[in-house]
């Protein structure tokens, strides 16, 4: 066992951390208020290789930032944690292409690869949607399928050219062309270009159906859960970094409030859970990279604990800030709003676990 980062990992972590501390944190407040990322965001992130990092290098002429060799979920989890420390909404946009690109790379037909990779290379976005409640009806039409029902809310769906959809055991790449989408701005991840979509017998041609094997959906969910867990831990830690700084400066009853044992406990409990959740997310990522079937379960467990962690840590960070925590001038109320999507996206994680074990 080796917990140390190799030189490449160390370099990427440091680079992303700088980007996150300086740029993402700097943009987070305004992006939240505006409900959109800043103009510079896409360019700055592209320079660092985001958006195309899961697109195979042989997919297009300009291979800069594109994937050579195997994708590293470990690297993605390490980076996701740093991005979560910066801004959950912007992090969601930086990560949303990964599941569609990896899934199409792994199971896609030549037509699916061509469609998605060309769109992404041209600066487009894609997003993964899991129909966790069975809202989407999938009907066969020859080798094609037609989809009806509601998608989302999902981040990046408002601008995405393609959706990687997991519904009713089918994993498909769905073009958003002709899809009736409604852009929305929820309370959390406000800058993440959310939308819902209403599908009415939306046709997916056979060559865009990636898999009918439930194991494929389970694998994509494991990628997504691992990344969500890592980012959720980043948000948790950011909340407590802000709270620690504030508690050291805020004097009440003759001392910095950070010296009161009850507030030390709030912070320490959050950091303890965050440390455990981060290791579990990294473990899931390592299992994914090493093709271990246990990865699916570990990823799910990581999201359970990371979800608990981000909920508790952000609520408690607002508590430490007191009245200042409740107002928009300070960063933590945003984090409390941002926490919700980590537990809600792709469905209630505990419910999924319970139902899976009940059947077994």
């Amino acid at each position: 066992m080796d917990f140390a980062l190799d030189d490449d990992q160390q370099l990427i972590v440091e680079t992303v951390r700088r980007f996150s501390d300086r740029d993402l944190r700097g943009w987070a407040g305004d992006a939240d208020r505006a409900g959109a990322p800043p103009d510079r965001f896409t360019h700055a992130a592209s320079e660092l290789g985001f958006f195309l990092d899961a697109v195979p290098a042989d997919a297009g002429p300009d291979t800069s930032g594109m994937l050579e060799g195997d994708y590293s979920h470990t690297m993605r989890a390490l980076r996701g944690y740093e991005l979560g420390r910066g801004c959950a909404a912007l992090a969601a946009l930086l990560e949303c292409n990964v599941e569609p690109a990896l899934a199409v790379g792994k199971w896609g037909s030549a037509a699916a690869k061509q469609a998605l990779f060309a769109a992404l290379a041209a600066g487009g976005l894609a997003t993964f949607v899991h129909d966790s409640r069975g809202n989407v009806i999938v009907t066969a039409e020859g080798n094609d399928v037609r989809l009806s029902g509601k998608l989302g809310p999902a981040p990046a769906l408002a601008t995405a050219s393609h959706v990687l959809l997991a519904a009713n055991g089918v994993l498909a790449l769905v073009s958003t062309e002709g899809m009736r989408r409604t852009a929305i701005t929820p309370s959390g991840w406000r800058a993440a270009r959310w939308a819902t979509a209403q599908l009415e017998a939306h046709r997916v041609p056979a060559e865009f159906i990636l898999s009918r094997d439930p194991a494929a959906t389970a694998e994509v969910l494991a990628w997504a859960r691992t990344s969500l867990a890592a980012r959720a831990v980043g948000v948790s830690v950011a909340a407590m970094e802000y709270a620690e700084k504030y508690a050291a400066e805020r004097i009440q009853f003759g001392q910095p409030i950070g010296r009161f044992e009850s507030l030390i406990r709030l912070r320490d409990d959050a950091m303890t859970t965050a440390a455990a959740a981060r290791l579990l997310a990294l473990h899931a990522a390592w299992q994914l990279d090493n093709k271990q079937p246990a990865a699916f379960d570990t990823a799910s467990r990581a999201r359970v604990i990371a979800g608990d962690c981000v909920t508790r840590a952000t609520i408690d960070a607002v508590q430490i800030f007191g009245g200042y925590g409740f107002v928009n001038d300070y960063p933590v109320e945003k984090l409390m709003r941002d926490a919700r999507a980590f537990e809600a996206l792709h469905g209630d994680e505990r419910l999924g676990r319970v139902l899976a074990q009940k059947v077994a």
Binding site: S132, R133, G134, G152, P153, A154, I184, T185, P186, S187, G188, W194, T196, I251, Q252, F253, Q255, I257, R259, F260, E261, S262, L263, G307, T311, I315, V318, Q319, G322, G323, G325, F326, V327, N328, D329, E333, M336, R337, R340, A341, E343, A344, L345, G347, D348, R350, L351, V354, L355
Partner: protein
């Protein structure tokens, strides 16, 4: 304890205010949350129900049809009525509940320690409406940028000058801080006297030097206005100082006592938030299915609803006990703190869990449970944080304040 029986007075108030909340508050709750606007129209119509801005000063006869027994030794009903009613209003929308009742924060010290002249002046300043047709509201100005939980270090000073006091300082997190027609501002009159030197003053809007500041953008209770207020050498006649000059009572100690009586009411509001989220989840579960099975057939969901019901009920018992003690003139310091701390915790837990159980739909803008989640948090912060409540409870156990 009569609260467990079907007391017709309390159940009548509950029914009336539940109908008001259901028909008039809930339908506009999301709009005022999204717009961050005060529900001025509703605040006016609430007056017709006896929920007027001066209800605390006038007594609650209009609301209940019952005259309180003037004998101070006889049990009262006021605290229990307030707890019963507040749960219903906050069930509709906590922000709107606070907008309707916000003036009560300022009215309370006037009612407790005001002279007849001061009460009349306060009432006069709350009677009528402004040129926009907005009813007049009051603001209690106590907290300061550096003075939240610890109110002993107030920086706002009131300096004697002939028959007047000159008030200087800034206040923060003031409910109705921008819109109020009358302020009850707390200032240090005698630094050497410490807390005993802190007094309340009635200051009318428009008094030179009184400058309403910036309105805050908040996580929740967005229908209630919170703003800074600046006092730049505001001259106030000494007759407008609460507690009268030269006396040692009427100061901050009385204000702290006042918080003991408001905490069960604040607890009841948090209970209203939790109950609202619980009921929306329950309704959704009763009609909903999960991959072809009724949601209500799942222990995963139903046991959590049972747990929510348990905690909400326990919170309500604590709040009603604290109110019952107050109505019977019995000490309720620890009980009031227990009620508030428990209700705040319950509201945060129920709303966040309800969001998880509802899944992605609760992320949609304008979802009531998402709003309730944001509204719940302030109940663990204002009127004494959760830490302050535990400190109060802990002190009753050993007599000392743990740090």
């Amino acid at each position: 304890m009569d609260l467990f029986h079907n007391n017709p007075l309390f159940s009548g108030v509950k029914q009336m205010l539940n109908a008001f909340a259901r028909q008039q508050i809930r339908p506009i709750a999301i709009k005022h949350d999204q717009e961050e606007s005060m529900p001025w129209g509703l605040m006016k119509s609430a007056g017709a129900l006896g929920l007027s801005q001066t209800a605390v000063v006038d007594g609650r006869k209009k609301l209940t049809g019952v005259e309180e027994d003037p004998d101070p030794k006889k049990p009262k009903q006021q605290a229990r009525l307030a707890v019963t009613g507040s749960e219903e209003l906050a069930w509709g929308c906590a922000g709107i509940c606070l907008a309707i009742g916000g003036s009560g924060l300022a009215a309370s010290p006037i009612s407790r320690m005001g002279t007849e002249e001061q009460k009349a002046e306060f009432k006069r300043l709350l009677t009528g409406e402004d040129e926009q047709g907005h009813v007049f509201v009051a603001a209690m100005a106590l907290s300061e940028p550096g003075t939240g939980s610890d109110i002993s270090g107030l920086k706002t000073v009131a300096t004697k000058d002939g028959n007047h006091y000159v008030i200087r300082g800034s206040k923060q997190w003031i409910t109705n801080g921008r819109s109020a027609n009358v302020y009850v501002v707390w200032a240090q009159t005698d630094a050497s006297a410490g807390r005993a030197g802190v007094r309340g003053f009635i200051v009318a809007r428009g008094t030179p030097g009184l400058v309403p500041g910036r309105k805050e953008t908040k996580l929740g209770i967005r229908a209630s206005e919170t703003a800074q207020v600046h006092f730049e050498d505001v001259r106030v006649h000494q007759d407008m100082m609460l507690g009268g000059s030269g006396e040692t009572t009427g100061g901050l100690a009385d204000t702290k006592k006042m918080l003991d009586s408001t905490r069960p009411v604040v607890a009841a509001q948090a209970i209203g938030i939790a109950r609202a989220a619980y009921e929306i989840l329950l309704e959704r579960v009763q009609g909903g299915s999960l991959h072809g099975t009724p949601m209500a057939a799942h222990q995963h969901i139903m046991f959590e609803l049972a747990e929510m019901n348990m905690e909400i009920t326990a919170s309500r018992m604590l709040a009603h006990r604290a109110a019952w003690l107050a109505d019977h003139h019995l000490e309720n310091v620890a009980e009031a703190s227990m009620a508030k701390a428990h209700a705040a915790r319950t509201a945060q837990w129920v709303t966040s869990r309800a969001m998880v159980l509802l899944g992605e739909e609760a992320l949609e803008p304008g979802h009531m449970v998402e709003k309730l989640y944001r509204d719940a948090k302030i109940y663990d912060i204002f009127e004494g944080t959760g830490q302050i409540q535990r400190r109060i409870i802990a002190k009753t156990l050993t007599g000392t304040n743990p740090t």
